[in-house]
Symmetry: C2
Subunit: 171 residues, 2 copies
């Protein structure tokens, strides 16, 4: 079919490749960004209304939840992708609320280790269960196949980005 029209289709592909194809990455990025913002805002609102917690606090507690012995603040910083200075304030507020405990180990007094308190652990468990349900609910209209595919393909994007970061080592 294409050959009988002597290359018109090919021409279109080329034109499209030069015009629209160029900005595909930009388009994808804008959509990723707006979708992530949308979900974040909804989760934030629900966390606030139902638990009086913020999203960064939830994130931080999630990391501590899976490490029963606690984490050093620097490690928390890496895992939550939050700057050091930021972790300080976050942990400080959580400690005030009695959800997190700060300990300086004997071996190295530079270090501060944060742990969930019993209360923190219980509250987090409730938040985590709700959180998981919210996501299922928000994505309810998307086929499981698509969700699995997205997880895989976004993984490729993440790898590519990690390989092209400017002037920073990657893990």
């Amino acid at each position: 079919m294409a050959e009988s029209e002597s290359g018109i289709v090919d021409l279109e592909i080329i034109v499209q490749g030069a015009q629209e194809g160029k900005k595909q990455e930009l388009r994808l990025w804008l959509r990723m960004l707006s979708t992530t913002k949308l979900i974040s805002q909804e989760i934030r609102r629900r966390l606030r209304n139902e638990f009086g917690a913020t999203l960064p606090q939830f994130d931080l507690m999630a990391q501590l939840h899976r490490e029963h012995d606690g984490l050093r603040l620097g490690e928390l910083s890496k895992r939550t992708m939050v700057t050091n200075g930021n972790v300080t304030g976050l942990v400080e507020r959580l400690e005030t609320d009695g959800l997190v405990l700060r300990v300086t180990p004997d071996g190295d007094r530079r270090v501060t280790v944060a742990k969930l308190t019993k209360k923190g652990d219980e509250i987090f468990a409730a938040m985590a269960a709700a959180h998981e349900g919210w996501l299922r609910e928000l994505m309810a209209d998307v086929e499981p196949t698509i969700i699995a595919g997205l997880w895989k393909d976004i993984g490729e994007v993440k790898s590519s980005v990690n390989n092209h970061l400017s002037g920073v080592a990657f893990d």
Copy 2:
């Protein structure tokens, strides 16, 4: 092949569907979030180093760039997904730098319209070009087919989320 093993494969699918499948949405969300954070941080770093601008400022200017007559602050708030109060400060700072102009139209004195200045327009054009290149660079390892597929599928996620927001009208 599966049939000659009398349903073992099916069983695995069922088991996996009950165990792992349950948290697929959560897994996808965590990956979306971390990937978006990663890209945001890189873009922010480059915007800062090469243009002395911030990401929210860039976002806001991008909206103004495509509306030559300017936008009301409330409209800017919707498009950038930033709260009203935040837009006020953002525009204020950009005005101080001479990139944006604030005007109150004669018809309705409740309204403030923000426009790019000539300087703002020129600077934005340079930033936008660089920005587009950065994204191509960061996603360079991802096949165009996958990028197009992601754009489409993330669109489905966005629609689903919009259909399940709690207590808010959607556009």
